[in-house]
């Protein structure tokens, strides 16, 4: 297509607004619980419902968590943060305004580093501010009504706004993953996108390469998975390119990503431009955050993903690819380090965790947290591998069984007869038997057809159902074939 050649000249400019639900026990302005999946309106307190006369009182923990995030991205923390009311009407916004921040957000400018195709890139973070989440409107429950559930109303959110520094959907996903790992390592959010603990709006525009001015942008709202972020942005980029290349205009608007149709579409283009009429929240006076408080938090910050990756490379002698995968989540990282306490062969652990263990998590769409294979089971398994008590193929088999059955590694080995035979005498006997049974092949081999070595290995493995130690088999077979 002719557009393709032109397309190379376009540069996407992307910025993300990431909403992270903070994992406080109680809500940001009320002492109602924040649990997920509770029956409708059972955790909506009178404050969350916005009854006449109720007042917000700010949760100290939410501030602490926001400051923790700020410190971890080297941002300025405001000593004098201000809350503001953002005014708009919506059924799941009980007060008709959201308590948020405009001027003086709690976290100012900072940055994070991402690595994409072996290149490091610094992504600027404009600000991160605290606000309250809205409730939920359910549209498919009643024929003529929308049902309002305000359980989520008042859950603390940290909105992290990036600079328009991202240049592709891949970079955007990489940045989002980075933020995900930071907030989970900091223990300020469970980061669970499927439950809405992390949601993302993407601002997308395109411009000709070399151009410094930004084009008209669209905002894609509420994308709730890494995969959809990539797809939605890619769809939007090509939509915008097509529009501009056919001499159309890009309307500055809010769009919604439909994951089923894999497309974005306009949300409220007919509606009047929103005028949120922000003003300082008079129910909350400015928040004083002392330098001592900030310093205390800095001193107590846990090891962050970047630092951990570096340490994994030097301490466990891993390559950066392995170190990065092992630090893609806090649980994965903890899993690894726990096993490394009992097994010296850290490269072996990394190989299996990055390889087969990650593969089975992917296969069943599970997180490390929900893994059906416990850390102890995996330790057992890798220990047996390390001590040559089982073979690689046997280990692969065991992983699959461990996932699906409630059974120990030892029991699987027993049941499936997977014990590796590494006794040289035993293997020698087996080999002799195999050689005897295949005189034709032996003759051909001795006449120079060395490729047949593999055939003999195969035969030995076949008779032992794969449980012979291949290293020992190789060694003895070579000797016996020469005789």
């Amino acid at each position: 297509m002719s557009t393709n050649s032109k397309s190379f000249n376009w540069e996407p400019v992307i910025g993300l607004e990431i909403h992270v639900q903070l994992s406080t026990k109680s809500k940001i302005f009320s002492n109602a619980p924040t649990e997920f999946g509770i029956e409708q309106n059972l955790q909506a307190s009178i404050i969350d419902l916005g009854l006449p006369g109720v007042l917000p009182v700010l949760n100290k923990k939410a501030i602490e968590m926001a400051v923790r995030f700020g410190c971890s991205i080297n941002a300025n923390i405001s000593n004098h943060a201000i809350f503001a009311r953002k005014n708009y009407f919506y059924p799941d916004l009980p007060k008709g305004y959201q308590i948020s921040q405009l001027d003086d957000p709690i976290v100012g400018e900072g940055s994070v580093e991402i690595e994409i195709e072996n290149e490091k890139k610094l992504i600027g973070i404009t600000r991160a501010h605290l606000e309250e989440d809205a409730g939920k409107s359910i549209h498919d429950k009643y024929d003529n009504s929308s049902a309002i559930d305000l359980n989520r109303a008042g859950t603390p959110l940290l909105e992290i706004v990036s600079e328009p520094d991202l240049r592709s959907a891949k970079e955007a996903v990489c940045y989002l993953k980075k933020i995900h790992s930071i907030v989970t390592f900091l223990d300020i959010s469970d980061g669970d996108m499927s439950q809405g603990s992390m949601r993302c709006d993407a601002n997308v525009s395109i411009r000709k390469k070399g151009e410094t001015k930004l084009g008209n942008r669209t905002e894609i709202k509420n994308i709730n998975s890494f995969k959809f972020v990539e797809k939605a942005i890619n769809f939007e980029i090509s939509r915008q390119i097509n529009l501009l290349e056919s001499d159309n205009f890009i309307e500055q608007e809010t769009r919604l990503y439909d994951s089923q149709k894999d497309e974005t579409r306009s949300m409220r283009s007919k509606e009047h431009a929103n005028d949120y009429r922000y003003f300082p929240e008079p129910d909350l006076i400015p928040l004083e955050i002392s330098n001592d408080f900030i310093q205390d938090i800095k001193n107590s910050l846990p090891e962050l993903p970047d630092q951990k990756i570096e340490r994994f490379c030097s301490e466990y002698k891993l390559n950066s690819y392995e170190a990065e995968i092992l630090n893609s989540s806090k649980e994965m990282s903890n899993f690894y380090e726990k096993i490394a306490q009992s097994i010296k062969n850290t490269k072996l652990i990394a190989k299996w965790m990055v390889g087969d263990f990650s593969a089975i998590l992917n296969k069943y769409g599970s997180s490390v947290e929900e893994s059906k294979i416990s850390c102890d089971d995996l330790t057992d398994l890798l220990q047996k591998l390390d001590e040559d008590k089982i073979s690689d193929p046997a280990a692969k088999k065991i992983i699959e069984i461990l996932w699906n059955e409630n059974i120990t590694v030892e029991e699987i080995i027993e049941r499936e007869n997977l014990k590796q035979i590494s006794n040289e005498d035993d293997i020698g006997e087996l080999i002799e038997k195999v050689i005897k049974e295949n005189p034709k092949q032996l003759e051909q081999y001795r006449n120079g057809k060395e490729k047949l070595f593999g055939f003999f290995v195969g035969q030995v493995m076949k008779t032992t159902q794969g449980s012979a130690d291949p290293k020992v088999v190789n060694k003895i077979l070579k000797d016996k074939l020469k005789q």
Partner: protein, 475 residues
Amino acid sequence: MSNPTSQSLIEQINLLEKKEISSLELTQLYLTNIEKNKDLNCFISLNDKALEEAKKIDKLKERKSLLQGIPLAHKDIFCAEGYKTTCGSKMLENFISPYSSTVFDKLKKSNSIMVGKTNMDEFAMGSSNETSYFGNVKNPINKKRSPGGSSGGSAAAVRANLCAFATGTDTGGSIRQPASFCGITGIKPTYGRVSRWGMVAFASSLDQAGIFAKSAIDASIALEIISGFDEKDSTSINENVPKLINETTSEMDHIIGIPFKLIEKINDYKVKQNFLDCIDLLKKNGIKTKEIDLPFIEYSLPAYYVIAPAECSANLSRYDGIKYGYRCENPKDLEDLYTRTRSEGFGEEVKKRILIGTYCLSAGYFDAYYLKAQKIRARITNSFKEAFKNVTVIAMPTCSNEAFELGSIQDPVKMYEQDIYTIPANLAGLPAISVPSGLINKMPLGLQFIGNHLDEGKILNISHEFQKITDYHVY
């Protein structure tokens, strides 16, 4: 013995302590007065459990609070669990509060008896009580006149002996102006002194609860009970509350600051003369005065009519017909629900203020209105700070006129001008009190004392000094 309902709170406490009267008898007497004065329209709802509660209180062996057994009335802006809280609006006509305000709770815990909830301007927006959805209150002194607003029902109820004292709220003068119109004492404490929890919001940075009573001493007793830090209100002041009755009656040296430049501008010579006579009287009794300058104070009114509507425009957004309150019939869609619910549920004055507030906050006008008003607020607050370097309290009239005839003020700006002397204390968050200062045209007038931050004791003290040498508060 004269009817105990016409006696002061402190005398009633005395009677209860000596068991010369029971709470049941006192409550019954008040209920009789309420029944006889129905035409004043002071109450939106009555507490049908009042007698029952009084009986229970009478059975208690010990008196745990000065207010034990005392019948009082609450402005219908204070949420009280299980009772209607209408805020004078059709919007909340049937709203039964599932929780109680701190003010209600504290008075309940003091074992006092609520006889009912008083009428008020809708959402406390008004200076005449005429914006109430439940009809205006009449001034007990002259039923053709307004009792003032917005806490008109409470002021009139105290004046007409329908309760021993009453609560009110004051955003721009809503306690002091009705106190002045009804010839009683009304105090608005320092912003943050009394918790706003459960008090339906009008303008959050200005609203403050306070007390109507027959005298400064009476007010000090009730105010002390409702004051204090409340963890449910993050704008509440975390300071101990002094024994206010002791402060009220102790010996204090006062220097009263008088903003003569402001006084000179008073149009009504009777009002001006009344004020100057009061100052002379205080001087004759050995109290020092000093001229002060309060620059920018005349800009209080314009600043207030930006800030209060701006805050109210957001505070009243929660009335959307979904969670509680009025809902229009058969809305055809969400927009229709919002628009008709709010247009039908709110009265004209409330709508006007929401519109003004929305305008002042909207894109393009925010700096010129809202921000400008906040800057003027800062200047006014500073001018008070300067003044209080040299004086203990500041005196000025409460209002530039006596109670006007109901229906006589139609121009909104004229109505707003009712509050020109009371608004400055709200903008600066300072405590202020109005005490009766005599009559003009057979109607009472008020003298206002404004105190420095947390100086409720000082303004109560000077008011008490004034009431020792006058009998305007005795009726």
